[in-house]
């Protein structure tokens, strides 16, 4: 992690090339693939994801249905593609909200210290001591079952993570000379934190955002698996796995396995990118 102020440099072709090189790793490629699938799902999907076809129930994978069909005769390949939209949007939106809320508060806590810091830090620890899925169950019980609540749950469980992380990376920076200089120049605290402190701590925070998105996908799918957040037949990976769970002992594996692999790959992609960013800033 660098404590030097960020410096602008000329954007020569070589520099742009070296900046883009990380995109050539498998994790980034996979992430890009998921983004493309989410954007282009209607163009790639061979079938309507919620079109039931009672003539084609529980067909194993074939050339007509690459991933087979489910109990309603819906095409699982098309559903897995469309579900990318649901899971990615919920995860990314939830983490983005957590980022926007957690990072500034964490930065202020780390920069100012004192009772404010103590209050937010303790509250974060308490929220984190409630087991995640039980916490989610409680929120759903109190506020109703909807996709909005699902995004809110993903955001709430991630806020303490961003808050504590930002706090811990801001603390060592606040005593640097250039911060003291800004303070002596009479700049207001909010400006110092936003313009001088935060930009120099973004590496670990951005890396955490990617790792959080990976867990957010697991959480989204997990909650949908127990019937929370999304309603059938809306395509979503976790609820598709749930649909296939009772069929496993009949040997109809494809209903659960393909959406499950999609979750696994998405988690690997986001997690891998996060770790890669962390390594870049670690040096």
């Amino acid at each position: 992690m660098s404590a030097e102020p960020v410096q602008a440099a000329a954007w020569t072709p070589a520099r742009i090339g070296s900046r883009l090189r990380p995109l050539l790793t498998p994790y980034w490629a996979l992430l890009l693939l998921f983004a493309l699938v989410a954007l282009l799902a209607p163009l790639i999907a061979p079938y309507d994801p919620i079109q039931a076809d009672l003539e084609a129930k529980l067909l194993p994978p074939s050339s007509a249905h690459l991933f087979g069909t489910d109990e309603n005769g819906m095409d699982i390949f098309s559903r897995v593609l469309f579900a990318t939209r649901t899971d990615l949007v919920v995860a990314v939106l939830g983490v983005a909200i957590a980022f926007v809320v957690g990072v500034p508060i964490g930065a202020l806590c780390g920069y100012l210290g004192g009772w404010l810091d103590e209050l937010f830090n303790r509250t974060s620890e308490i929220v984190q001591s409630i087991p995640l899925f039980l916490f989610a169950l409680m929120i759903f019980a109190a506020l109703g079952n909807s996709k909005t609540i699902l995004v809110a749950v993903v955001a709430i469980v991630n806020i303490p993570i961003f808050l504590k992380l930002t706090r811990s990376v801001v603390q060592p920076i606040k005593n640097q000379d250039y911060i003291a200089a800004a303070r002596l120049a009479g700049q207001p605290t909010s400006r110092i934190v936003l313009r001088h402190v935060l930009p120099n701590t973004l590496g670990p925070i951005v890396s955490q955002a990617s790792i959080s998105a990976a867990y957010a996908i697991q959480i989204t799918a997990g909650l949908a698996f127990i019937g929370l957040g999304v309603e059938l037949p809306h395509p979503e990976w976790g609820s598709m796995i749930q649909q296939g769970a009772p069929l496993i002992m009949d040997g109809d594996w494809w209903v659960s396995v393909f959406p499950g692999l999609a979750v696994l790959l998405a988690v690997v992609a986001f997690g891998g990118v996060g770790r890669q960013i962390a390594r870049r800033y670690d040096r």
Binding site: S129, L134, A141, I226, I248
Partner: protein
């Protein structure tokens, strides 16, 4: 001097734990009574306004909030978690019936988890970057990335459906089989205590897959920590001295292991605390009759008192196990002790 320090430390940690428990209770109160409507939680959304008003008055939800809060905390302190709408029994009793199954699953998962992560971490640390290290890291990454409910389903597909080694996921015992006399509530242990070997064997088979699921998906952080901790120990001065004295490699390894296990112990305890509250999805996959499945079923029946009870209990266990882990590492590691003074 020393004793006084210990008591002060113990007091401070206990106070922190009690405050954390109180904090969890406050959060549950705020979420359910300020953000949500408790009467709607109890009656469901189909109740008429008259019914709702009557229940509101009966349960004292018309009282001022501070008064409600005091009563709520008072009930909690006495272990009163309300009544289940579905069975009309006290939630405390219902949870007490199901908690042993969760505990059994979490213990078994933890045990299996330690059995694969610690040895692998120690071996990987002997040659960082070697093939054992790389393979174990890949396995750990896989375990963390795969959703536990999906991994459980894959195990069922492979071992129950395809190979037939494990029974279908219907709970702790064959459907219709009579459970052993209840002593601990953990079927495997009770069968053993009753000397009922066939039941013991059958229960063990049911326990295997969910326990493996937890061991693979929840314990990778222990592997990573064992590895780093062991590498640090092997590079330390006391290990170099021990080698220089010509002690056999096996003895040297033992020295390093003993010293690197303290953080691993703390991490393991935390993982266990985490496991007890996070078996929800795995219990759902395996129809495991613990408190996780109970909370999901209650949720589906719009029966919310049990959900809140399980939330409070799960959090309390996490906080207490965390406290215990802290105290133990404090007791056995002088370095941690000195860091505190």
């Amino acid at each position: 001097m020393r004793r006084g320090f210990w008591l002060r430390y113990l007091g401070r940690r206990l106070l922190a734990a009690v405050l954390a428990l109180f904090g969890v209770a406050v959060i549950v109160f705020v979420v359910t009574r300020l953000l949500g409507d408790p009467v709607e939680l109890i009656l469901g959304q189909r109740a008429t306004p008259e019914q709702a008003a009557q229940l509101r008055a009966e349960l004292g939800y018309d009282d001022p909030l501070p008064q409600q809060f005091v009563r709520y905390i008072g009930d909690l302190v006495q272990g009163d978690l309300g009544v289940s709408n579905y069975t009309q029994r006290p939630v405390t009793d219902e949870i007490a019936d199901r908690f042993p199954a969760t505990l059994e699953l979490a213990l078994a998962g933890m045990l299996l988890g330690l059995l694969w992560t610690i040895p692998l971490g120690v071996i990987a640390a002997q040659r960082p970057g070697g093939w054992v290290d790389r393979v174990s890291r890949a396995v750990a990454e896989f375990g963390l990335a795969i959703p536990n409910f999906f991994f459980g389903l894959l195990l069922i597909l492979l071992f129950a459906y395809a190979l037939g080694w494990a029974p279908a996921p219907v709970g702790e015992l064959d459907i219709g089989a009579s459970p052993p006399p209840r002593v601990t509530g953990m079927v495997v242990v009770d069968a053993l205590l009753a000397g009922d070997l066939p039941t013991f064997w059958s229960a063990l088979k049911y326990l295997a897959l969910p326990a493996i699921t937890l061991a693979v998906t929840s314990c990778p952080p222990i592997l990573a920590l064992t590895r780093t901790s062991m590498i640090t120990a092997l590079r330390s001065d006391y290990v170099r001295s021990a080698r220089a004295f010509g002690l056999p490699p096996r003895t040297v390894r033992w020295y390093a292991l003993k010293n690197s296990l303290v953080p691993v112990l703390t991490m393991s305890a935390m993982t266990f605390g985490f496991l007890v509250g996070n078996t929800v999805l795995v219990e759902s996959v395996f129809s495991w009759p613990g408190m996780g499945l109970y909370s999901v079923q209650s949720m589906q029946r719009f029966d919310y008192a049990p959900v809140l009870g399980v939330v409070l209990l799960g959090s309390a266990i996490y906080i207490l196990v965390y406290l215990l882990a802290d105290l133990i590492s404090m007791a056995i590691d002088p370095r941690v002790r000195e860091g505190q003074t």
